[in-house]
């Protein structure tokens, strides 16, 4: 039988606010346990939540970017359950009336095709704290630094048909929230994580199969592998005549398998009801207008512009616009290189990325900036140095030895393009190697390389290779006559 997979993702993005969603406490990552939890975060008697307007603005930004409906009136609700790292015994979230509903994004698949994926809703909520089971022997530690951190939960329609599509969708959302500056996207620190709802059904069926939920997938690779495993597992169960059980499962990346979580965590009735401590969130037009005006260029808008402005191919555009920082770097490095944008693209994809990877740096930490690279590329473009020499200059720039021109000057790396001077060297080299000249003329054309090498050696590699080739051919062929 042929099987069809249906996947929906719930992505939790931690919003990049300075303070928590309902208190003034800081949200810095990595602080000593329980040093970033004020009385509101701790759920002390008598304290009250006050909504952080910055988190609201970020949610609106996201909604606008995905072409969603921004609800002018949304409601915070309490999700009630007991857990030691949930101080109030309820999580403030949005339930029936979320701030963002009905949007979509377009994802690009490996075969180059595109697919529009619906986003059911995105709602604001507070994060819980952390229970630390490993660090303390026979005890559980509670760290409430994360309690009250603002989250935007983004819920997709069940429209993803494979693990690859799910991963592509997750990447697209990751790219978008980083473009919007609403999430740092750091998956190791848990700033961007996702739960996946997965079911399979016989191809052609319209009814959904029983789903399982995979919790807390925090890397693109795990999302793909976990979903792949789970699809195979469900198909195996069904083909063996069994039934898929509605349950929450965890992905074990060491064993590359999914396992059910304890069943008792399933039987929750969260008793949602509107939080009486918070008035319904009303958004006025002026606020929406000001957020609209502050919207940055979106990834797909940038892709389109890169095609028009730089004439690059789609694959390069994908790479160069993956992050807005990377795109900005490219644009700075390509300034004024009209007709030679490909050179900038190649350097951004090649030398730059290789150096960043080698030193474990992100593009924002690059010791060579976009404008710095631009001055180097201009020297290639105007023939001052060769591409090969440029690599040497780049390494020196990377090591902090100065800007491109300073290094070229200091190391006397300017190419010899003076034809008269080069002709003199060529004449000398041919005269010094009559045997090879004879063989060349006898048809051993590949000896041209030998002569080029001799010329380069004689000029300390500063001769313009194209010019050398031309002059050597002319000289050797002329002598024959």
């Amino acid at each position: 039988m042929n099987w069809e997979t249906v996947i929906g993702l719930e992505i939790h993005t931690q919003l990049a606010t300075q303070s928590k969603i309902f208190s003034g406490e800081r949200t810095r990552y990595g602080a000593e346990p329980n040093t970033q939890a004020c009385l509101v975060d701790l759920g002390y008697p008598g304290v009250l939540p006050v909504l952080n307007g910055k988190a609201v603005a970020m949610a609106v930004k996201f909604g606008l970017a995905i072409g969603a409906t921004i609800e002018r009136r949304s409601v915070f609700a309490r999700k009630n359950y007991f857990y030691p790292d949930l101080p109030k015994g309820y999580q403030i979230s949005q339930y029936e009336l979320p701030i963002v509903s009905r949007g979509s994004v377009v994802i690009r698949l490996d075969d180059g095709s595109q697919k529009r994926v619906g986003i059911t809703r995105a709602h604001l909520e507070e994060d819980a704290g952390k229970s630390l089971h490993e660090t303390l022997k026979d005890r559980t530690g509670i760290d409430l630094n994360r309690a009250g951190t603002p989250l935007l939960e983004i819920v997709s329609e069940p429209e993803l048909g494979s693990a690859a599509e799910a991963a592509a969708y997750m990447r697209k959302i990751h790219q978008l929230v980083r473009y919007l500056g609403i999430c740092d996207g750091n998956m190791q620190e848990g700033s961007f994580r996702c739960d996946a709802n997965i079911s399979v059904r016989p191809s052609g069926d319209t009814e959904l199969g029983t789903r399982t939920e995979l919790k807390n997938l925090n890397s693109f690779r795990y999302v793909e592998k976990a979903i792949e495993f789970e699809i195979e597992r469900q198909i195996d169960v069904l083909e063996d005549g069994g039934k898929v059980v509605l349950e929450t499962r965890l992905y074990d990346s060491d064993k590359d398998e999914t396992r059910p979580m304890r069943a008792k965590e399933e039987a929750n009735d969260y008793r949602y009801f509107p939080d009486p401590d918070l008035l319904p969130l009303e958004l006025d037009q002026a606020l929406l207008d000001s957020i609209k005006e502050s919207m940055p260029e979106l990834p797909w808008e940038k892709e389109e512009r890169f095609a028009t402005d730089y004439g690059l191919n789609p694959v390069d555009i994908q790479i160069l616009t993956a992050s807005s920082e990377g795109a900005a770097f490219f644009e700075a490095s390509a300034a004024g290189l009209a007709g030679n944008f490909e050179l900038a693209a190649n350097w951004n994809k090649g030398e730059l990325r290789a150096a960043l990877n080698r030193d474990g740096l992100t593009i924002t930490d690059s010791p060579v900036g976009g404008a710095d690279l631009n001055s180097l590329l201009r020297r290639i473009s105007d023939g001052t140095i060769s591409g090969k020499t440029a690599k040497e200059v780049f390494e020196a720039m990377w090591a902090g030895e100065g800007d491109a021109d300073e290094i070229i000057e200091a190391r006397s790396l300017q190419q010899i393009t003076d034809v008269a001077a080069l002709e003199k060297v060529v004449r000398q080299v041919v005269a010094d190697n009559p045997e090879q000249a004879e063989q060349y003329r006898g048809g051993k054309q590949k000896l041209l390389g030998f002569f080029v090498g001799q010329v380069m050696q004689a000029t300390g590699s500063k001769a313009n290779p194209a010019e050398v080739n031309k002059l050597l051919r002319a000289k050797l062929d002329a002598d024959e006559n």
């Binding site: 701790l42 008598g46 939540p49 009486p276």
Partner: protein
């Protein structure tokens, strides 16, 4: 034993007739003498009070004093006070020392009041008799075998008995007005959102409101000027200017109208109470006000509606008492489930548990629509009905309670009878409007309260009506018999 009002004491302090320290010592001495029989205080802050009183005296001497500087005052033990116990009448918080001050507490402290102690109350403000307190019931100074009402019973008894000239309270379904009526004093519940809830231990967030227990409406006005106002830490607090209530008390009532709901005078109303209320309405007629009948056809639904909405909110509000971070914790739990269960079993009393269970039930999947959602609709209906009255009348008036103070032990085993005692006060909380109870006579030997209800943010109007009435009558000056030290055995 004299029982002076805040305004009289304020005048005396300014003229140097007595010092704040003398007043405070007198208050502390009275508490010491009366508390064994009244049980009105859970905590007395003698040392801190004397320090604050001396500071107030310095301020008075410097000429920078406000109207409340140096006035001894008690807070209901539901308001968080930094560095002292805030028990909320519960075993759960019997050891809880708040690290911060409630907004009400800091505002009154800024105004110069001297905090002498924290008053007893029904556990988490859930009760109408003060019998649900972990610290034992408060006794009514008029007759110590009777309840002072609840949940602000300690504050009411303390003011009625002259232990303090004024106290704060909170009112979720009548918890200021009913005890004021039972003890013959003035109890004022402002509009929802008028006074910040920050630092007030939550019972039912959409209904809770802080207010005052005083001898006169004038004193309520003075306290309100200090307590009311927008607080950025409470999202439900109203961003509206606070009018100078104490300057608006003397306006004439000529031509004003009072609506009296037909439904208030049914078989359930004690005849003695009815007589006192009708006499009070005559006084208002004499003052020039016009009395007309109004209708609140859904009044009877206010009690069942309240007992869905309030428990629903409390079931969630009280989830934070889990033994993890503060308050009572069962000492011998073997796992987290047992820790929660035993902590909450032992930390909460019967009435609190009853309401948590009721609230959990009405919010449960499958019952939410039938109970919680339906109750919200009825709440809207009751509010709209009351709002409609204010299109025709300036205020609504009637009894605060159907009977005068009932006996301790009389209703505690019959929750429904207990709940029905709040029939006249609850609708006001559901609607979010202000209400005040003022003494208007006696049924037998027990005080009767007249309730005046105003439109949203009609505080000034209510206080004006109440003050004019108190200028015309002397019911608010009646004091209970002196309390003997062994009073409990009457």
């Amino acid at each position: 034993m004299d029982r002076l009002t805040v305004s009289q004491l304020s005048a005396g302090l300014r003229s140097g007739k007595f010092s704040s320290e003398e007043l405070t010592r007198q208050s502390l001495a009275r508490i010491e003498a009366a508390n064994p029989s009244l049980n009105a205080f859970i905590t007395v802050t003698g040392e801190e009070a004397l320090t604050a009183a001396r500071a107030a005296d310095r301020k008075l001497a410097s000429g920078n004093a406000g109207p409340l500087t140096g006035i001894p005052l008690a807070h209901k033990d539901i308001f968080c006070t930094a560095g002292t116990l805030t028990t909320c009448g519960s075993r759960m918080l019997a050891n809880f020392v708040s690290p911060y001050d409630a907004t009400v507490v800091s505002k009154l402290a800024d105004a110069g009041v001297v905090l002498v102690g924290k008053t007893n109350m029904d556990e988490f403000a859930m009760g109408s008799s003060n019998e649900t307190s972990y610290f034992g019931p408060v006794r009514n100074p008029w007759e110590v075998s009777r309840s002072p009402g609840g949940s602000s019973g300690g504050s009411a008894a303390a003011v009625a008995a002259g232990l303090v000239p004024a106290a704060t309270g909170t009112d979720t379904g009548g918890s200021i007005r009913q005890p004021a009526a039972f003890t013959g004093i003035t109890g004022f519940k402002p509009t929802y959102g008028r006074v910040s809830r920050y630092g007030m231990v939550a019972f039912a967030s959409s209904l809770d409101q802080a207010g005052t227990l005083t001898i006169t409406a004038e004193d309520a006005a003075l306290l309100m000027e200090a307590m009311a106002g927008f607080d950025a830490r409470d999202s439900t607090s109203a961003d509206q200017a606070v009018p100078p209530y104490s300057k608006m008390l003397d306006e004439s009532l000529a031509g004003k109208t009072i609506g009296v709901p037909r439904e208030y005078f049914d078989d359930g109303l004690d005849p003695g109470c009815e007589r006192a209320i009708r006499d009070a309405l005559d006084v208002f007629s004499d003052l020039g006000a016009k009395i007309t009948e109004v209708e609140l056809p859904h009044l009877a639904l206010s009690v069942p509606t309240y007992y869905i909405v309030a428990p629903a909110e409390c079931s969630s509000n009280l989830s934070r008492y889990d033994g993890i971070r503060f308050g009572y914790r069962h000492p011998d739990a073997r796992d987290i489930g047992e820790l929660y269960t035993r902590t909450r079993q032992e930390g909460f009393g019967a009435e609190v548990k009853r309401r948590i269970m009721t609230g959990t039930y009405v919010l449960s999947a499958g019952y939410y629509d039938a109970y919680y959602l339906q109750a919200q609709k009825v709440r809207r209906l009751i509010r709209d009905e009351l709002m409609r009255c204010f299109e025709d009348v300036d205020i609504v008036a009637g009894p605060t309670t159907p009977t005068p103070a009932f006996g301790l032990g009389e209703k505690i085993d019959d929750p429904v009878q207990m709940y029905l005692n709040d029939i006249y006060t609850i609708a006001v909380n559901l609607a979010g409007t202000p209400g005040i109870s003022i003494p208007c006579g006696f049924s037998g030997t027990l005080p009767v309260g007249l309730q005046l209800i105003g439109p949203h943010f009609g505080e000034a109007t209510l206080l004006n009506f109440a003050h004019r009435y108190q200028q015309q009558t002397d019911w608010h000056t009646k004091t209970p018999p002196p309390v003997s030290n062994d009073g409990a055995g009457e």
